[in-house]
Amino acid sequence: MPEVTLVEAINLALARAMEDDPNVVVFGEDVGVNGGVFRATVGLQQRFGPERVFDTPLAELLISGLCVGMAAQGLKPVGEIQFMGFIYPCIDQLVNHASRLRNRTQGRLSCPMVLRTPHGGGIRAPEHHSESTEAMLAHIPGLRVVIPSSPERAYGLLLAAIRDPDPVVFLEPTRIYRAAKGEVEDNGEALPLDAAFVLREGRDVTLISWGAMVKETLAAADDARRRRHQRRGYRSRDPQAL
């Protein structure tokens, strides 16, 4: 099995989804000719044509609104916002339209769209390029928020997001776009959207994490295991405050 980076896994999943389903369209700023600022969409326009993979004007509200209109027509739009700091003009579309179209029309129309964007800090970039406001999005009823933490999970979860009948915001941890490498079989198999991945079994502590921080979380678990004999010391902390 070939070893790929997380961003290459995103590219593989997009290509697979477009190959399998002619309704999948990919668009955003610089996604077409340029192949995306992080190369997530590289090669897609050459392979699937400029009608299914296209560059939009610099207008994020438009990108999210196009998704809603296309999705209501049965397309499977995958819009890209160049950095998460620019997703905020889309909030009206996400809250007032995308997440509730199925419910407010009692199932007559639906909104199978995906809005992808690079997410999180740690890339030596300024404000607006290092945002992690996923908690805000996760509080929007009717909207799924997905953040992968490895190439394998990025591939399987993005396929699941595109196939999902309802809107999904797919946040891609920029810091591990290339730092995370792993074997990915391009077999078109999706992973479940609503299940947590148990990366390490244990008895004493539950660590919950997502995205780029999963690496640090696993390291912390390793560290805790090494220092198991010191646990008595931790117990002497203030349990009532906890």
């Binding site: 369209v25 009608e51 299914r52 939009t56 004007p57 207008a59 509200l61 438009l62 999210s64 609104g65 196009l66 998704c67 809603v68 209109g69 296309m70 999705a71 209501a72 027509q73 049965g74 397309l75 739009p77 003009p89 009206d92 579309q93 007032n96 339209h97 419910n103 407010r104 029309t105 009692q106 199932g107 007559r108 129309l109």
Partner: protein, 321 residues
């Protein structure tokens, strides 16, 4: 001078009801004119009833469509069933023309979203409440038509207030770039919250905003049902039959239009007073042979008859508080 633009205004009927230019061919179809007129009368009667229900607390809110009947009816009547309507909340007449039942509209305004699962074309959008935010949807719908090479058109209706929003500009701009089969209709009802048109925009017309997006903008007398219907038909069919390839660059393609319902100088209060707002409806009536008072009575009866149906569908408990 590197560019020069002009905005045409379309009107067949003078304010006094006289015909000021030769009528289009469809105007000799008396049965069609009667249908258009009936639809306008029906929605006006419905409007009166719905406002009364709102004032007495039985509808949580209701957006009156008083005075813009001819815009909605003119546009909807020129659409095909397979086209997609993206209405604002004042476009009751367009929904009704396309088969939405009056009780479904009442259900919606009473807070029951079953009203959005309506009897109109299944792909039509429900009322859009956040002003202008349906314009990008129209561009998305039209993009889907273009991608699938379907001869269908998206028709997006909004008011003058929406033209102040970025949503509308972004959508029109994109539609221009991709030459999409979509018609944008800006009804200059001057009911925007809460300033007059001169404080919404310094543009001389709303139609010229289409020129900024690279396509034709035309101003139509929105009280003139003959002009509205003619303009609607021309724009919708031009959008449907847009040249496929190669496309002109920079030229004015009669494929996407923005309508600006001209009401210069008129105050919103003018149109609420009886008589002053009759405009198109009355004038159209004069050229309809066979029209009678009975049409209006029919409209009123139809509008009032549907209220009990809304009660039934909503459940007695909700309506009887």
């Amino acid at each position: 001078m590197i560019a020069r633009f002009e905005v045409r205004r379309r009107a067949y009927l003078a304010p006094d009801g006289s015909i000021n230019r030769q009528l289009p061919a469809f105007a000799s179809d008396t049965r069609l004119l009667v249908r258009l007129y009936r639809a306008m009368v029906l929605v006006r009667a419905f409007d009166v009833k719905a406002v009364a229900l709102q004032r007495t607390g039985r509808l949580g809110t209701y957006a009156a469509s008083l005075g813009q009947e001819a815009v909605s009816v003119g546009m909807a009547s020129a659409m095909r069933d397979e086209d997609v309507l993206l209405p604002s909340y004042r476009d009751n007449a367009a929904l009704i023309w396309r088969g939405v039942k009056l009780e479904e509209i009442l259900l919606f305004w009473g807070g029951d979203e079953r009203g959005n699962r309506f009897s109109g074309p299944v792909q039509d959008f429900p009322f859009c409440i956040p002003v202008g935010s349906q314009a990008p949807h129209a561009a998305g719908v039209a993009y889907a038509f273009k991608l699938r090479k379907e001869p269908r058109v998206a028709v997006c209706l909004f008011g003058d207030g929406a033209t102040s929003k970025g949503d509308v500009y972004e959508a029109m701009n994109f539609a221009g770039v991709h030459k999409l089969p979509v018609v944008f209709v800006a009804t200059n009802n001057q009911w925007a919250i809460s300033v007059p048109l001169r404080l919404q925009t310094a543009s001389e017309t709303l139609a010229q905003k289409a020129i900024a997006a690279g396509f034709i903008g035309e101003q139509v007398d929105g009280n003139d049902i003959v002009a509205m219907r003619a303009a609607a038909e021309e724009a919708i069919e031009a959008a449907r039959n847009r040249p496929r390839a190669p496309l002109h660059r920079g030229g004015h393609l009669p494929a996407r239009r923005s309508y600006d319902r001209g009401r210069r100088g008129a105050l919103p209060s003018d149109r609420r007073s009886p008589g002053a707002l009759e405009g198109g409806a009355d004038r159209a009536a004069e050229i309809i042979s066979g029209w009678s008072e009975a049409v209006e009575q029919d409209g009123r009866r139809a509008a009032f008859r549907r209220v009990p149906a809304a009660h039934r569908r909503r459940g007695r408990a909700l309506f009887s508080r």
